[in-house]
């Protein structure tokens, strides 16, 4: 179920912790698996738990607690837009409206071709570049305007 590359990546995270504290790598392990699979299934979470020798329920608690994990299918490109105060003051609502209209979906929905999904995010800790969004959790885009959003989406295949 876990590919060799996935295992290797998790193993390298495990090196950060004492040998008897494998559970410490669960956030990293779930992140690695999600990055590969797009979202987490119960089965994948159970595999991660087994791999780290921890109870499945404890891994499930982690997967449901941290909000960058996806427990349902997401688009190939998951767009998370921050709408918290500093972004809101710099017209993040316009970005959200633009994305909703352009993609014809609301928050927590996927486009028909499964290419995009849209999510509302809490503060990303980069408010100096507001308004902000991330794509697939790991790539951040700052100082957004509707035009800039169009350009970013066009460059995604």
């Amino acid at each position: 179920m876990l590919t060799k590359i996935t295992r290797k990546k998790i193993d390298s995270e495990l090196k950060k912790f004492p040998v008897d504290q494998k559970q410490s790598a669960i956030i990293a392990a779930l992140q690695i698996i999600q990055t590969e699979n797009g979202f987490l299934t119960d089965e994948l979470i159970a595999f991660a738990a087994d791999y780290l020798a921890m109870p499945k329920i404890a891994a499930m608690e982690v997967a449901t607690f941290y909000n960058m994990f996806e427990l349902k299918p997401a688009g190939k490109y998951k767009i998370s837009v921050c709408t918290n105060i500093s972004c809101a003051l710099r017209e993040a609502d316009d970005i959200v409206c633009h994305l909703r209209k352009k993609l014809n979906i609301d928050f927590n929905e996927i486009t028909k071709d499964s290419k995009f999904s849209l999510k509302e995010s809490e503060c990303m800790g980069a408010c100096g570049g507001a308004p902000l969004m991330t794509i697939n959790n790991h790539k951040m885009y700052e100082f957004l305007t509707p035009q800039k959003v169009d350009q970013i989406l066009e460059e995604l295949d």
Partner: protein, 438 residues
């Protein structure tokens, strides 16, 4: 201690780069660049001369450095809580889990000057006798997490980390840990739970992390900016640092300016600078508009109307006297067009969303507060809703394990205190006072 022409460092109107001292150099984050400004010289000097931890703590106490994550606890005193000579593993943790809206200074330190943070944490490890450290990085700033991993690899390769640092017999391993989207993990015991691979739910205190932290071992948790300041203090002396600031607020502080401002960004300035001066440095209110209000330290600190903040100085006592506090130094600027009711609605949603759910007053209270403000914004407010909001907020405050409950109450109480007329207007007319369309 060196004293390189710092007599004139205290200026009222200038940026004084300490944590961000490599910012304007090429490849600011590289090891080479950090070495070019005297980087890693302090840890080497301390190890070579075998300077006692007590002496170093004394220097930090003289500097007046206080925890930069929001609590403002004196760093020198905190570091004396961990007995240096106790047996077994001890941990040093850096809290870079910046999720307080308006805060983005740790990201800049990690991005622009990661080696100064690494050296600061290593000095801290030497002082407290710790062998292992973690830097817990906010989930959404993934690129900074990766660049910090690179900086760690560089430092290890050059033997500034790992076994017998610089061949001087002191071992310290430092790792990067990424969060994955939970504001509460900025609370130090929630962060510790998260490092242990659990939900980030705060622990009861006592025991404090100094005696019972990661895996039950003594652990010191400090903010990124706090650690990153240490090498400079070691280089120039505590007194030089203290002299840059004002009484009770030693040194510089990075203020993150966001919202309705011409030049949003991080400004590392001497403590005690008048807010007015920083407003000028950051280009003033955007679009030539007038200032309405400022949240000085992130939403956990009370909002101040323009008249109050324009009189304030940016230091612990200055902002306290104005009725707010420094917090994490996250100035959120709001112009004259801002509707305080809808702004409070967004902040209340944030605390409701991020409450970890452990304590009933916070879990239920934050949702209750949000729903009441939402009904006001939806045009269905009732005259008694203002008192209801105040009542619920006061009943969350002080009744929870961690400070998130208290923090959730702060914006409600302070927004209503200073802008009650706007709330009354919204309830009476079913629309915002700022809404000029009839």
């Amino acid at each position: 201690m060196l004293n390189n022409n710092l007599d004139n460092a205290r200026k009222d109107n200038e940026i004084v780069p300490i944590c961000l001292r490599t910012s304007n150099l090429e490849n600011s984050s590289s090891l080479q660049t950090y070495l070019s400004v005297g980087g890693y010289k302090q840890i080497q000097r301390i190890l070579k001369e075998k300077i006692s931890p007590e002496k170093l703590i004394e220097e930090i106490k003289i500097s007046g450095l206080r925890g930069r994550g929001g609590a403002g606890f004196p760093t020198g005193i905190k570091w004396s809580f961990i007995p240096n000579n106790s047996a077994g593993t001890k941990y040093i943790v850096c809290n870079s889990d910046e999720g307080e809206p308006g805060t983005f200074k740790d990201r800049e330190i990690i991005k622009k000057n990661p080696h100064q943070l690494i050296e600061g944490m290593t000095i801290a490890a030497y002082i407290m006798g710790a062998q292992v450290g973690y830097n817990y990085i906010h989930g959404e700033i993934w690129e900074e997490y990766e660049s910090f991993e690179k900086a760690l690899a560089e430092a290890k390769k050059a033997n500034f980390l790992g076994k017998s640092i610089c061949g001087l017999g002191f071992d310290f391993e430092l790792y990067a840990f990424h969060g994955y989207g939970a504001y509460i993990c900025g609370e130090e015991t929630a962060l510790i739970e998260s490092i242990e691979g659990k939900k980030g739910q705060p622990r009861f205190k006592p025991p404090f992390p100094a005696t019972y932290g990661i895996y039950g071992r003594p652990t010191n948790v400090n903010n990124t900016e706090t650690y990153a300041t240490i090498p400079w203090i070691m280089q120039n002396g505590g007194e030089s640092f203290a002299n840059i600031g004002v009484e009770n607020s030693g040194g510089t502080k990075i203020f993150s300016v966001s919202g309705h401002i011409e030049k949003p960004g991080n400004y590392e300035i001497p403590m005690g600078m008048p807010f007015k001066t920083l407003l000028e440095l950051s280009g003033g209110v955007w679009k030539g508009r007038k200032l309405k209000a400022v949240i000085p330290g992130g939403p956990s600190t009370p909002v101040l109307p323009a008249a109050e903040i324009m009189k304030a100085t940016l230091d612990y006592d200055g902002l306290k006297n104005s009725g707010s506090s420094v917090g994490a130094g996250s100035l959120i600027v709001m112009d004259e067009t801002t509707c305080m009711v809808t702004t409070l609605k967004r902040l209340s949603y944030f605390f409701y969303e991020e409450s970890c759910g452990q304590c009933t007053p916070c879990r239920e209270g934050t949702g209750w507060v949000y729903r009441v403000i939402k009904r006001i914004v939806d045009g269905n407010g009732k005259p008694e809703d203002i008192d209801l909001l105040l009542d619920v907020s006061k009943k969350i405050s002080g009744r929870t394990i961690c400070a998130l409950g208290d923090a959730a109450a702060v914006p409600v109480l302070s927004f209503i205190k200073h802008f009650k007329d706007e709330f009354k207007y919204f309830i009476k007319n079913g629309k915002s006072m700022m809404d000029t369309n009839s």
